[in-house]
Each structure stands twice: as structure tokens, then as C-alpha cells.
């Protein structure tokens, strides 16, 4: 881990001193257990603020759209895929970007760790090799990190080295995911009433803070459909029907684009499992159109392209 951190710092120092980039986006420590924050480094002498650990959870691709500077960005595998989609959609200028892909990129799901601590505030969390030693008042636990990773990391294993300008860490052993859509298939087997009750229950937790939308690197519309009044697609109230429509439409807008980075789920203060919606669309796009987002910047988006023999058995 610390070797990766050192490499990130060295690259930052070099890229900033020789003016290859104006801005280096990475992660830094904030002196709180299990938390890191996005870092925006412009001066080579600040490069040693950069860190790397399994708590570097944010998808930094969020910060790329709308910038004209030359930027270097630390990107985990899923983050690289987000960047690929942004390149494909011409939201970032590839020549201005230096993508630093970090291969060793399993991120710890803090909620899974918190669930082990009896609801107590965590006072310290130390990483030692493959273990996490976490303490709260009167509780100390040693957890195996690989059992507490984000589902979006476990479900998405790709080698994005081809796209990256710099690669740090061992090439991840590309194990084929076991059926990453297992939970979705399970839900598909239930009756429509059961599914409706499930989504009603999940989405009624939504407080319309739009953190899911704002954390997503691919939600970059200057005027989101939610903000539009003419027509007023979605009301501003907490009416459940409006809330469900917001989530349905946002999920639909990610069709063929979502890389399942999990930023939306991590951002949600109430822990709504949005991947059960975006995952369904991702699965359908893959099965029906053979497309997966964020693997190749040259590939057409499946929703803005077509094949003459696309499936249409449901059309009368």
C-alpha cells in the first residue's frame, strides 16, 4: 500500500514540477478513522499530502468535467471506466488528461465495518497487511479486509491498463466475476407485487438530497431534468411517486453509460441500494445489446446506436 502511495507522490512531484499538468487530483488524509478526501494539488511541494489506502473511495472522475487545465488523476479501475465514458461523450479532452491507473483498488465498505461495531462510534481504524484493526469504545475487532469490500469492487474486475498513461500496482488478476447480477436475478424471480413493495420501501427512504446524482461522474448536465420547470418532469415535493420517477429516470439516463462504480450508493445518506436499479439496466444492456460501458472510448454508446436486428419480441 505505502509503496503505491510513494509512487503516487513521486509522479505528482514530477508532473507538477515539469509542468506536464497544472492540477493533480488524488486523495488525502483527514485524520479521521476510515475517511479520506479528494485532494487538489497544484504545487509539487504539496505532493506529499497524497495518500493511498483502501479508504480512497471517491470516484474522482467527478471533478474532471468543465475544466480546461491539464490534469493528472488517480483512478481506480471503475474510475478509469468513468473517464472512458467521459472521453467518449467528449466531456473531457484526452490530451489534457494524464490517467494514473491504480491496479490495487479494492475499497473498503465502511458501512460493512460499522455493522460490526454494535452501533458504537469508531475511534480508530488501522490497516496492517490484509487486516483492519478497528476500535470503538470497549470494542476492538480485527477484520480481514477482503470480507469488507464494496460490492461494486467485488462485482467489477477489469484490466484498464490500456487506457491509462501511468500504471501503479500489480496488474489485477482478472478473475471473471461470478454472476454479478445474482441479486437482481433473484429479485426478477419475485412477483410484481413483491418487487413493487421492495422498491417502494427502498425508495421511500430517499430525502431528495441528490447526492447520488451529484456524486455520479456521468451526471454532468448543466440543467438536470429535476431542475426543469417547463415541463415539470418531477415535482419538488417528497411525494413517493415523484421520488420513484426521479430514480427511474436517473437510472434510465445511465443506460449504456453507468460503469457501476458505486459512487451513488456510497453517497446516499440513507444507504439506498441504487445498484438494484442501475444494475438491472446494465444487465439488460449487456444481454440485449452486448455492450458494456467504459471499456473503449471509441465504442458507440449502445443507446445512441442500433442494429437492424435488435430484439423486438415485445413489440406487436
Amino acid at each position: 500500500m505505502s509503496d503505491i502511495q510513494q509512487q503516487i507522490q513521486e509522479h505528482a512531484k514530477k508532473l507538477l514540477s515539469d509542468k506536464t499538468v497544472d492540477l493533480f487530483i488524488g486523495y488525502k488524509d483527514i485524520n479521521e478513522p476510515m475517511l479520506t478526501e479528494p485532494a487538489f494539488i497544484r504545487d509539487a511541494k504539496d505532493a506529499d499530502q497524497l495518500i493511498w489506502n483502501p479508504f480512497c473511495e471517491h470516484n474522482l472522475a467527478k471533478y474532471l468535467v468543465g475544466r480546461n487545465e491539464k490534469i493528472a488523476i488517480v483512478a481506480k479501475t471503475n474510475d478509469v471506466r468513468s473517464i472512458v465514458v467521459l472521453i467518449n461523450e467528449q466531456q473531457v479532452i484526452r490530451e489534457n488528461l494524464t490517467i494514473i491507473g491504480v491496479n490495487c483498488d479494492d475499497v473498503i465498505d465502511r458501512k460493512k465495518v460499522e455493522a460490526e461495531m454494535d452501533g458504537k462510534d469508531i475511534t480508530s481504524a488501522q490497516i496492517k497487511d490484509d487486516k483492519l484493526i478497528v476500535k470503538a469504545e470497549k470494542i476492538s475487532k480485527t477484520l480481514k479486509i477482503k470480507n469488507y469490500l464494496h460490492d461494486s469492487c467485488l462485482d467489477n474486475k477489469r484490466d484498464m491498463s490500456e487506457i491509462c498513461d501511468i500504471i501503479i500496482g500489480e496488474k489485477s488478476s482478472c478473475k471473471t466475476e461470478e454472476d454479478k447480477y445474482a441479486k437482481i436475478r433473484e429479485l426478477e424471480q419475485k412477483t410484481p407485487e413483491e418487487r413493487w413493495e421492495y422498491f417502494k420501501k427502498e425508495l421511500s427512504k430517499c430525502i431528495r438530497c441528490y447526492a447520488c446524482r451529484n456524486a455520479c461522474p456521468l451526471c454532468y448536465c448543466k440543467s438536470c431534468f429535476v431542475d426543469q420547470k417547463f415541463p415539470n418532469w418531477v415535482g419538488q415535493t417528497t411525494d413517493l411517486s415523484d421520488t420513484m420517477c426521479f430514480h427511474i429516470m436517473r437510472a434510465l439516463h445511465t443506460a449504456g453509460r453507468c460503469v457501476d462504480c458505486g459512487a451513488c450508493v456510497r453517497a446516499c445518506p440513507n444507504g439506498i441500494d441504487l445498484r438494484m436499479l442501475t444494475g438491472k439496466i446494465e444487465k439488460d444492456v449487456k444481454e440485449l445489446f452486448g455492450a458494456e460501458a467504459g471499456l473503449n472510448p471509441e465504442t458507440d454508446n449502445p443507446m445512441t446506436s442500433y442494429k437492424e436486428d435488435d430484439p423486438e419480441d415485445f413489440i406487436k
Binding site: I30, E32, L35, T36, E37, P38, F40, H58, K62, Y63, A115, G119, D121, I122, T123, E137, K205, I207, R208, C209, Y210, A211, R213, N214, A215, S223, D227, N232, G235, Q236, T237, T238, D239, A263, R266, A267, P269, N270, G271
Partner: protein
């Protein structure tokens, strides 16, 4: 008419069951790992073993979506009425949230304007706060003039002293309710002392501090400072900090209508949203996150201070705990206090 009463923990469920008969009882309920104040009929559904609720109590007096009135061609204007007119009891509120309601009163029960929707709910509610024996690591209420044992805003103040609860009537409203409570008995001096000790211990556990002594004046000097670029850079502009803050109170009034009928609704809004200050002309006086972050801090620690002589913050830490990029208000205030003042342009 005794100000102080005790009740054994094992009798609390019975007391709450009785209160729920004559009042609408709102108490902390845990659902899927998250605790929020919910209306309950049975005392056993609640949990008092929690740090603080996820959402603040402002929802009770200032709902996230509130229908102000409805209108239709046939019926003209109708104002919705609460169906259940019983008084409400909020049981187990933390002192920071109780104080937050007092701060919100400055806005909704002000000298120039009294909000009838807010006031009706406020006056109809009795607040029974529960002292914090165990503050969270993110709490910093003691820097803001309150603390785990602060009674400001409570009608009844409760301290958990182990196998018993100590109840203290703080206001006349509270005294009246306290007199109605059954299963209580008088405390002994040692109980009262224990309560005080627990609160002092709890105050000492709060490690985080912010310095607000000269903060408002300092902010006046930083209007054009480049520090705001740095402070706003990682913010993603969602509404979590404002929605979960017990003192944030910005709202937008919209009409939801179709054909010949509709309703005028007041919804929470957030100054952190991009279009919060978007004008009909298309001009936006707060075009980027920098201006919006500056506004938020200024509102809480400068404008509110100038208008009402109080910081619009109770140190509950919700903004920090729930922020997707872990923006820490304490660090923000520290940077501001240490920033170089910029002369006004």
C-alpha cells in the same frame, strides 16, 4: 407540583404507552440500522440507546414538503387541516436538536413575521429532551454555548442515570406534563448528583472544538478571499448538509397544479444546489460552488449572528458524518480563523 421526578427504566415502556394514548408520541425508532423520530403507539417500539437521529427534528415543525393551501375552480381555496389534533410529545430528543428549534424560532417566530404553519405545530408540541451521556466523536456542541446537559428548548429534561431516568420540568408546559406522568417518584440527592456527574463527564468527552469568538468579524474580512476556492473545491453540491442540518431552513414555494386545480407547496431547498439563486433572466449571482459554500458559511456564522446574535449551528456533526466527501465544518472554521484577511475590493 414537583420539578424533579424519577422513573425506573423498567417502567418507561408503560409510561410511554400511556402517553401515546392521549398524545401523539414521537420517539426514536430504529429501522434498517437508521434511527429517526417516528410516531409510535407502543413504548416498546422505541430505542433510547442511540447517539442521535439521522434526520433532525426540524421536520416536525417545518416539514420537508408542506401543502400551504389547495385551490380548485369548484372549491376555491382550502387550507389543509391536521386530522389528528392531539398535542404532540417528542420524547428522547437530544439537547442540540432542542436548541436548534430555539434558533429556528428566530426565523419563523420573528419580530417581523410569524409563520402560522410552523407556529401551530411548535405550540402544540411538548419537548422532552434526553441528555447525552455518550457524545459522538463528531459532536462539538460545547463550543457553541450548549452541551450534553443543555436544557434550552426543552420542556422536560431527562437524564439516564443507569437503571433510572431523572425528569426535570424546565417550562410550565413541561411541568404540566410531568404532573400527569404516572409511575414516578421523587429523586434523592444522590440521584440528582449522579445526573450532574454524568453530564460533566459527557462534556469532558467532547474533544472537538470550533472557535467562534471573532468568527463573524473575520468572515466580514474574507468576502473576496481566495480561501473559498480551496474550501469549495471538493464539494459536490448535493443537499445533504443542508437537509440534515437542524438549523438550515431555506425553502422554495412551488405550485403543483394541473387543469383547474392544484396546491401551493413549500419544500426544503438548499443553497448548495446550483440553481438555488438562478434568476428568471438566466443570471445566477452564485454561479459556482465557491460562492455557494461562502454563502452557507456566511449565513450560519455571520448573517445569523448579525440578525439574531447566535450562530446557526448546534455542533451536532451531521453535516460532517453524512457528507459524501467528508467536508468537516470544524476544519473549515479553523482555516477561516487562520486565513489572511483580504482588504475589501
Amino acid at each position: 407540583m414537583k420539578k424533579l421526578k424519577m422513573i425506573n427504566k423498567k417502567d418507561i415502556t408503560k409510561l410511554l404507552d400511556e402517553l401515546a394514548k392521549n398524545y401523539r408520541l414521537l420517539a426514536p425508532v430504529e429501522k434498517d440500522g437508521i434511527v429517526n423520530f417516528t410516531e409510535v403507539q407502543n413504548g416498546q417500539d422505541i430505542t433510547l440507546d442511540f447517539y442521535n437521529s439521522k434526520e433532525p427534528l426540524k421536520k416536525l415543525f417545518f416539514p420537508q414538503s408542506e401543502t400551504l393551501y389547495c385551490y380548485s375552480k369548484e372549491q376555491g381555496r382550502t387550507v389543509p387541516e391536521e386530522q389528528d389534533k392531539r398535542r404532540k410529545i417528542v420524547f428522547g430528543l437530544r439537547p442540540c436538536d432542542a436548541k436548534a428549534a430555539v434558533l429556528l424560532d428566530n426565523v419563523f417566530d420573528g419580530a417581523d413575521f410569524k409563520d402560522p404553519y410552523y407556529l401551530e405545530k411548535r405550540e402544540n408540541t411538548i419537548i422532552c429532551s434526553l441528555a447525552c451521556n455518550e457524545p459522538q466523536t463528531s459532536c462539538f456542541c460545547t463550543s457553541l454555548g450548549l452541551g450534553p446537559g443543555d436544557k434550552d428548548g426543552s420542556d422536560i429534561f431527562i437524564v439516564d442515570i443507569g437503571d433510572k431516568y431523572l425528569f426535570e420540568a424546565v417550562t410550565q408546559k413541561g411541568q404540566k406534563l410531568l404532573d400527569e406522568m404516572t409511575g414516578t417518584y421523587e429523586p434523592e440527592d444522590k440521584d440528582i448528583k449522579k445526573a450532574q456527574t454524568l453530564i460533566t463527564e459527557s462534556e469532558n468527552k467532547i474533544k472537538k472544538q470550533i472557535e467562534t469568538a471573532c468568527l463573524s468579524e473575520k468572515l466580514d474580512e474574507l468576502a473576496d478571499s481566495p480561501i473559498w476556492d480551496e474550501l469549495a473545491e471538493k464539494c459536490i453540491g448535493c443537499g445533504i448538509c443542508t437537509y440534515l442540518c437542524p438549523t438550515c431552513h431555506c425553502f422554495a414555494i412551488v405550485d403543483e397544479a394541473s387543469d383547474c386545480k392544484g396546491c401551493r407547496v413549500r419544500n426544503w431547498d438548499s443553497c448548495m444546489f446550483g440553481n438555488f439563486t438562478l434568476e428568471a433572466s438566466g443570471h445566477n449571482p452564485r454561479p459556482t460552488g465557491k460562492e455557494r459554500m461562502r454563502q452557507r458559511i456566511m449565513h450560519k456564522f455571520n448573517y445569523f449572528v448579525k440578525n439574531f446574535d447566535a450562530n446557526a449551528c448546534v455542533g451536532c456533526g451531521r453535516c460532517f458524518r453524512n457528507c459524501p466527501v467528508h467536508n468537516d465544518l470544524i476544519k473549515v472554521i479553523e482555516k477561516i480563523n487562520n486565513a489572511k484577511s483580504e482588504p475589501k475590493k
